[in-house]
Amino acid sequence: MKVEQISIFLENKAGRLAEVTRVLSEAGINIRALSLADTSDFGILRLIVNDTELAKKVLKENGFTVGKTQVVAVEVEDRPGGLYKILDILRAANINVEYMYAFVQQSGNNAVIIFRFDNTDEAIKILLENGVKIIEGEKLYRM
C-alpha cells in the first residue's frame, strides 16, 4: 500500500537541482513526481522515480545525502471538494499530514496526491475504512 519516496538534501545554490536531474537522467531513471520544500538556507527535494534503489545509489555516488521514506498515493476525485473530503477524514481520525504534493499523471479521471504521514500504517487503515482508493507502489512507478 505504500510508495517509496527518495528525498535529497540540497543547499540553496545555483545548479544543484539541475545536477540531480542530470545524474538521474544519465542513469536512465524517470522522475514520476517531484516536490521541493525550501527554506532560506536549504531545500529538500522529494522524488518518486521508477527505480528507487538505483536512484539512491547513483545520487549517493555523486555525493548527495539521500533518504528513503514511505509515502501514500491517494486517488482524489477530480471535482470540487475532492481533496477536502480526504483531509476531513484524516482530521476526524487525528492523522497528521506532514506534507503532500500532486503526482504528475492522473489515474483515469482522478488526480493522484502523495501524502506523507507521521503514522503511515494508521493513515492507510483509516483511508481504506472510509472507501478511499490508494494506489500501490508498483502500479504508481509504472504510471
Binding site: F42, I44, R46, F64, G67, R116
Partner: protein, 433 residues
C-alpha cells in the same frame, strides 16, 4: 596499579615542597648554564633567588617553540655534549625540527615515568606490549620501549608500518597491550577484519594511545572494534616525550600529570594570564628534574584544563582534560575565546551529526558573526523541513550553552567543506580588523 606508590600519592603539601625545591634548582641551573635563559630572565628583571614560592614561577618568561627553533640545534642544552647520551627531534612541519637531548639520568627518569604510565593503564610485568609507535627521532617508540622494560613487561619493538605483518605478530605472540596512535589503532582493526582476523580472538586488553588529538567518540569506536580498554596518554618531545601525563584505568577521566617532575599551568593564550581550575586554555609546563634539556614555562599550544579534584585511583597528581585542540586555532568572537575543537565537542555529543564542520567568522558593523556550517549526513537527514530546522536550533542552543557565544548554524551538503590535502579547513576568518 600505582608504580611508584610513594611519589604518586604524596600529600599536596609534601608534593609542593618537592616541587619548590626542584624548581629553584632548575631555575638556578638554567640561569647559570643556558645563555638564552639568562638573557630572558634578565630582560624580565627576575633573578633565580626571586623564586621563593611556587607562585613566583609566574614571574618567569614563557619559552616558545620559536625559541627552540632559534637555538637550533643544541643551544638550549644545559649540560656539555659529553653528558648527553641521546638526541631526539620532532618533525617540524615548517623548517627545522626541534631538537632535545637527554642525559643518562634523564633517560632513567623518562623510563620511570613511562613505567608509571603503563602501570596506570593497567599493564604489569606479565604483559606483552606490542609497541607500534615509530622508533627513531620521534620520541614515541623508544619512550614506550624503555618504560615497558623498566616495568618488566615483554616489549615487541614492532614500530610503525607493514600492518598485515603487525597483525600476524600480534596474534602469534599473544600481545596483551597495544601502544600506538589512536588512528593507527583503528587502521589495525580494519586491516585485521580484512585479513579475516577477528580482533575478538586477539588477547589485547589495554591500549595506550596518544601523540595526536582524539575524542571520546573515537575511544568508543576503538574499544568496540579491538575489544580493549583505551587509555589516553600525553606527552611532547620538548618536555620529555610520552609520559608527561596519562589516564588511570580506574577513572579514565582526565590524565594525571606527573607533578613531581613537571609543573603545569593553564594560561589564556591571548593575554598570557594564568587561569583557574576548570578553565580552558593553553597548557604550559615547566620541567623540574630534567638535566640536559630543562624547559621553563614552555607553551605547549595544547588546549586543555586542570582538574585538582581527588581521583578514585589514589593518585594525588592533578589531572588535565583530554587535549582538544591547539591554541594556534583560537578565535576571539565578541571577546570570547573560542576553539574550533569546542564546537567539535558540541557536535560529537549530538548523535545524528558527524563532526564535519567549518566556522566562518565575519563582522557586520562592529559585531562578530559566527556561522557554523555542518555537513548533513544520512543520520541527520530528514525529508521534513521542520526536523532539519529543529536540528539547527539544537546545535545553536548547545553552542550557546557550552561556549557562551551565539552562532548561526547552517546545514550544508556533505563534502562541501573545503578540504586541503585531505584535512578540512576548519576556520575561515573574514574579519578585517
Amino acid at each position: 596499579m600505582i608504580y611508584n606508590m610513594e611519589f604518586e600519592t604524596l600529600p599536596r603539601e609534601a608534593l609542593e615542597a618537592i616541587q619548590l625545591r626542584r624548581l629553584k634548582q632548575t631555575v638556578e641551573r638554567v640561569y647559570a648554564t643556558v645563555p638564552f635563559y639568562r638573557k630572558q630572565f634578565d630582560k624580565a628583571g627576575v633573578r633565580p633567588d626571586d623564586i621563593r614560592t611556587l607562585d613566583d614561577l609566574r614571574r618567569l618568561p614563557f619559552t616558545t617553540k620559536q625559541d627552540l627553533r632559534d637555538n637550533y640545534p643544541f643551544g638550549l642544552f644545559a649540560v656539555p655534549m659529553e653528558n648527553v647520551v641521546r638526541i631526539h627531534a620532532s618533525s617540524g612541519t615548517t623548517g627545522k625540527p626541534t631538537v632535545v637531548g637527554y642525559t643518562a639520568r634523564d633517560i632513567q627518569t623518562w623510563a620511570e615515568l613511562m613505567a608509571r604510565a603503563l602501570s596506570a593503564a593497567g599493564a604489569t610485568r606479565g604483559d606483552i606490549i606490542h609497541n607500534a609507535y615509530g622508533y627513531g627521532l620521534f620520541t614515541g617508540g623508544l619512550g614506550v620501549h624503555y618504560g615497558a622494560e623498566k616495568l618488566g613487561a615483554s616489549v615487541i619493538p614492532i614500530s610503525g608500518g607493514n600492518t598485515k605483518r603487525q597483525i600476524m605478530i600480534m596474534k602469534d605472540f599473544g600481545a596483551t597491550v597495544l601502544t600506538c596512535t589512536p588512528s593507527y589503532a583503528l587502521h589495525l582493526a580494519e586491516v585485521a577484519m580484512e585479513m579475516g582476523v577477528d580482533p575478538k580472538t586477539l588477547k589485547l586488553k589495554v591500549g595506550v594511545f596518544g601523540a595526536e588529538p582524539w575524542s571520546e567518540k573515537m575511544r568508543e569506536e576503538i574499544e568496540q572494534k579491538l575489544y580493549l580498554t583505551a587509555i589516553d596518554i600525553y606527552g611532547l618531545s620538548e618536555i620529555i616525550g610520552p609520559g608527561v601525563s596519562v589516564e588511570c584505568i580506574e577513572a579514565k577521566k582526565g590524565l594525571h600529570i606527573f607533578e613531581d617532575h613537571f609543573i603545569p599551568e593553564i594560561i589564556d593564550p591571548e593575554t598570557g594570564k594564568n587561569l583557574g581550575p576548570g578553565e580552558v586554555g593553553e597548557l604550559v609546563i615547566t620541567t623540574i628534574t630534567k638535566e640536559a634539556f630543562p624547559v621553563i614555562r614552555y607553551r605547549t599550544r595544547d588546549i586543555t584544563y586542570l582538574n585538582p579534584e581527588p581521583c578514585i585511583c589514589g593518585r594525588t597528581h592533578i589531572r588535565m582534560g583530554r587535549v582538544t585542540g591547539r591554541s594556534d586555532d583560537m578565535l576571539i568572537i565578541r571577546g570570547v575565546n573560542v576553539f574550533p575543537s569546542q564546537i567539535e565537542s558540541v557536535l560529537m555529543e549530538i548523535d545524528e551529526v558527524e563532526p564535519h564542520y567549518q566556522l566562518i567568522v565575519d563582522r557586520e558593523g562592529n559585531l562578530d558573526i559566527l556561522t557554523v556550517l555542518v555537513e548533513v549526513g544520512e543520520h541527520a537527514f530528514s525529508d521534513e523541513v521542520r526536523k532539519l530546522q529543529e536540528l539547527e536550533r539544537k546545535i545553536e542552543k548547545n553552542i550557546k550553552e557550552y561556549l557562551g557565544v551565539s552562532a548561526k548554524v547552517k546545514l550544508v551538503e556533505p563534502k562541501t567543506i573545503a578540504r586541503s590535502e585531505g584535512k578540512a579547513q576548519r576556520v575561515i576568518d573574514k574579519r578585517k580588523i
